[in-house]
């Protein structure tokens, strides 16, 4: 049976057709050709004497190089009275070094064809850029200067605080931001992973000195990875990395302690975020899922692709293509160093808030209780394998993916193993993952919208309903 399944995966569409119950495929539709092996990027891994990990992927072609540097320590490492300070750190990391002003940094990078992007997340902060390959030296020089010599000038920090406070207000007018913030609290409770953004209080309380201290604690070569992907020769690039980053010294003292793994599943209840004037309810269902390093991660990915992770998935077919409740529903697994989450989202017009939740609940439970068809399983696996290769066509995407793999504590060849594991996942494991993670009772429900609309609509489900601040 197992070998048959693997065989079927590589067969033409015509033979898959026989097993499925949907409308038959067109008679003259040509079959798929034999699959070509999808090559994963080849990563050369090294470690400098100061402990900096360097992952290089040489890809010839267009004359560009993408860089990403990830430094461990994100929202989960923020002091309890400074939640989200990592975001302020990422807004100010490129606003001056010992020898360059913010303007000089941005102009020198622009002359190299790049600009700097600094992102904060739960486990790490990432600084990335992509430059013309003729200007690699200039790009690396700036990156190295920022990472080793960021000075967080007082005036720049004061401006960044004001602007971050106002942009937080701006984001608070977006339903997706409000939903994500409450979902963080609902999923993780007091665990440090609950932080998704700074607060007005933490922004106001943070000083330039706080940023310098936090940065000094986190920005150390033995807790960082440099990834370069693009048009270069590996030996030359490694030499440049040594020149630019070899003098980076780790501070005395221990690195950040690891974040504990959250274990308590969220409450199966409705959490309402009041947003007056909403013409839709922003619905999100969330629960804990597998981490990337868990043995059932790939099985859960296949299950999710069948449930709501693709356009032809059950959820999208049901609430969009059949019922027209929503434009872009979907479900995804997201992973962090110490946790995974399964999130379903749908923005639905106010009048169909209740039937939408009913259908989402139905599709979660259907997946958890019945075995998918062979066509669904084959399609899901082929989709995940194919789109993984497609998503890694951009060098900046390869750099970001490798940086995240390193932060998650996995080896660089994870980038190729993923697809092999997906293709080889037995049906029984998909069923087990569906049963473990997908039952609707495991999920918390966050609903952003008009309070009366949401409360009236969701009352018949008999779940506890509370309005969140």
């Amino acid at each position: 049976m197992n070998s048959l399944k693997v065989f079927a995966l590589f067969l033409s569409l015509a033979s898959v057709t026989a097993a499925q119950k949907e409308v038959p495929l067109p008679k003259d539709l040509p079959p798929y050709a034999a699959e070509q092996p999808l090559r994963a990027p080849a990563v050369q891994s090294s470690k400098l004497d100061n402990g900096l990990t360097v992952w290089l992927v040489s890809q010839r072609g267009l004359p560009k190089v993408a860089f990403a540097v990830a430094v461990r320590g994100g929202f989960a490492a923020d002091p309890a009275d400074r939640p989200g300070i990592t975001e302020l750190l990422s807004k100010t990391i490129d606003q001056g070094t010992k020898s360059r002003t913010a303007k000089q940094i941005s102009q020198e990078l622009q002359a190299a064809g790049g600009d700097l992007s600094a992102e904060s997340s739960k486990d790490f902060m990432q600084v990335s850029t992509a430059v013309l390959s003729s200007k690699v030296d200039a790009g690396l020089t700036i990156l190295s200067d920022i990472l080793q010599n960021a000075s967080f000038p007082d005036a720049e920090v004061a401006l960044a605080k004001r602007n971050l406070a106002d942009s937080l207000r701006e984001r608070e007018s977006q339903p997706s931001f409000l939903a994500a913030r409450v979902m963080g609290k609902v999923l993780f409770g007091e665990h440090p992973y609950h932080v998704t953004a700074p607060t007005q209080e933490s922004i106001a309380a943070s000083t330039a000195a706080d940023l310098r201290n936090t940065y000094a604690l986190r920005a150390r070569p033995d807790q960082a990875v440099l990834v370069a992907v693009g048009d270069f020769d590996n030996d030359t690039m490694l030499g440049l990395a040594k020149t630019q980053f070899g003098g980076w010294r780790p501070p005395g003292g221990a690195a950040l302690p690891p974040t504990p793994r959250p274990t308590v599943p969220p409450q199966h209840a409705v959490f309402v975020v009041v947003r007056p004037g909403s013409v839709q309810t922003t619905l999100q269902l969330g629960t804990l899922g597998p981490m990337r390093s868990d043995p059932d991660f790939e099985a859960a990915e296949v299950a999710n692709a069948i449930y709501g992770g693709t356009f032809s998935s059950r959820l999208v077919s049901n609430i969009r293509e059949d019922k027209g409740y929503t434009y872009s529903p979907g479900a995804s697994l997201r992973t962090y160093r110490q946790a995974g989450v399964l999130i379903t989202r749908a923005d639905v017009r106010n009048e169909v808030t209740a039937p939408s939740l009913n259908e989402i609940t139905y599709e979660l439970n259907r997946l958890a209780t019945t075995t998918p068809s062979d066509e669904e399983l084959t399609k899901a696996k082929r989709f995940l394998v194919g789109t993984e290769a497609i998503s890694l066509q951009a060098r900046s995407a390869v750099a970001a993916e490798l940086a995240k793999i390193w932060v998650d504590g996995l080896p660089p060849d994870e980038i190729g193993i993923y697809s092999q594991r997906i293709a080889a996942t037995p049906t029984a494991e998909v069923d087990a993952a569906a049963r473990k993670y997908f039952p609707a009772w495991r999920s918390a429900i966050v609903a952003v919208g008009e309070e009366k609309v949401v409360r009236d609509a969701l009352a018949p489900f008999g779940l506890p309903i509370q309005t969140m601040p």
Partner: protein
């Protein structure tokens, strides 16, 4: 109309090792379908882009948003391949697909492992032949599109006013000025006969371009394109909308209130020169000089030096395309979000000073070299990923008449001189050529009550 013999008009590919150049071929089928192919063996993947020269400018009064609603119907099946087949075949082949409606065209894109090449081309050819004109599917997609408008416009702060309302105020003729996402009364009025008529008028091989980028030989592509698309009959050349505008004579200002926003924003749009004028390249460079990244003049002046803005975005043809990807009238748009304790006048004073400097003081060659390096780098990003390369190649046919313009663009940009920038700015970046909309939180919203200086 059967084609027994296919005449291929082959243009030899450029195979030079010159930086940024990629092999390509172009040919035209007898039915008028223009085909562009770029061979790329970096991954065993194929990307397909088909565009039809019909966009929101082709909509008639009373049918705003119809081109986009129609785009959705292109995914709703045909008599041969009913609803659901397209996604099953493409996703089951390991790929994904999407569609985009713009002012001048509507495009359909797929990327999939090369093993799905035949089914993908078959699917595109199938929906170029006919559609399932189903009233039930139209009803379903009308609802989906209305949810799309809610999620992107009606339930969002700012409601894309810089992309929908600003052109509406800046232009006077219906094709350029109407709401491309569509008023609900117009979407509700659309009938299956409209779908049928639009399809017959615009969705023909002679009104389309097919671009393929992938891991397959040119011969293999020629054979397949001929096999799947060669028998689709050509149709009469569709009418083109009249997009002409009479010159703007005075600045246009208006204001809006926003029930959802908590922070005010200002949008400014200047009418731009035609794409094929000598000034268009200077416009593209100026737009980026003003808006591209932290090094840009508006970011430096408004966010950093004068501290009257939280963010500045924009450029020529922004946000619906690259600064050289337009056909009819377009704007250079600036979208500025500013702190609640700052007034529109403060923001404008800083903005006008930045524009004035561009006119009074010639930009240095160094300034230009920097932004042109960035634009070249951004353009390479566009060409890097096969699906966006397919898009760029096919857009070049529409906007520049030849696909190889994509390789010429960085070279042309590098020739723009400081004097050309200054002359462009002096002629186009003037108050009588611009439209402003100031959008502020509606009274009673928390953002509007915020005290100056709060949050420090």
């Amino acid at each position: 109309m059967r084609q027994l013999f296919v005449l291929l008009l082959l243009i030899p590919g450029v195979l030079s090792a010159q930086a940024g150049r990629i092999a390509f071929e172009q040919f035209t089928l007898p039915n008028g379908l223009r085909v562009i192919y770029s061979e790329d063996h970096s991954t065993p993947v194929v990307s397909v882009d088909v565009w039809y020269e019909a966009g929101s400018r082709n909509e008639r009064p009373g049918r705003s948003g119809f081109a986009h609603l129609f785009e959705h119907m292109m995914f709703e099946g045909t008599p041969n391949a009913p609803k659901g087949v397209l996604d099953r075949v493409i996703e089951g082949g390991g790929g994904s697909n999407n569609g985009d409606t713009r002012y001048d065209f509507t495009e359909y894109i797929e990327t999939a492992p090369i093993s799905a090449l035949d089914p993908v081309l078959w699917i595109e050819a199938d929906r170029m032949k006919t559609l399932d004109f189903s009233p039930k599917n139209l009803e379903n997609q009308r609802k989906v599109v209305e949810e799309e408008v809610r999620v992107n416009v009606l339930n969002q702060p700012y409601g894309l006013f810089f992309a929908i309302d600003l052109p509406g105020k800046a232009f006077d003729t219906y094709p350029n000025a109407h709401n491309f996402y569509g008023d609900f009364k117009d979407l509700d009025a659309a009938k299956i006969e409209d779908v049928q008529k639009f399809y017959e008028q615009y969705y023909s091989p002679n009104n389309a371009v097919l671009a393929v980028v992938g891991d397959v030989s040119p011969d293999a592509i020629f054979a397949r394109v001929e096999k799947y698309f060669g028998t689709i009959p050509a149709q009469p050349t569709p009418p083109r909308p009249n997009v002409g505008e009479s010159p703007q004579k005075a600045e246009r200002r208006s204001s809006q209130t926003d029930k959802l926003a908590k922070v005010p924003a200002l949008a400014i749009g200047y009418r731009m020169p035609p794409r094929h004028s000598s000034e268009a390249l200077a416009a593209a460079v100026t737009g980026e000089l003003l808006h591209n990244g932290q090094a840009s003049r508006l970011y430096q002046a408004l966010v950093k030096e004068k501290q009257v803005a939280l963010s500045v975005d924009g450029g020529v043809n922004w946000p619906l395309g690259a600064p050289f990807e337009y056909n009819g009238p377009t704007l250079m748009t600036s979208f500025i979000v500013y702190p609640p304790n700052i007034t529109q006048d403060h923001v404008l004073a800083a903005y006008d000073a930045t524009i004035k400097e561009l006119i009074d003081k010639t930009a240095s060659q160094q300034d230009l070299d920097r932004i042109v390096a960035k634009m070249r780098s951004d353009w390479y990003d566009q060409l890097e990923v096969p699906i966006s390369r397919a898009s760029a190649l096919s857009h070049a046919v529409l906007f520049d008449g030849a696909f190889d313009a994509v390789y010429q663009i960085p070279e042309d940009l590098a020739k723009v001189s400081p004097a050309q920038i200054r002359a462009f700015a002096a002629k186009y970046l003037v108050n009588t050529n611009r439209t402003l909309i100031n959008r502020v939180p509606a009274p009673g919203e928390k953002g509007a009550e915020k005290k100056p200086g709060a949050g420090l």
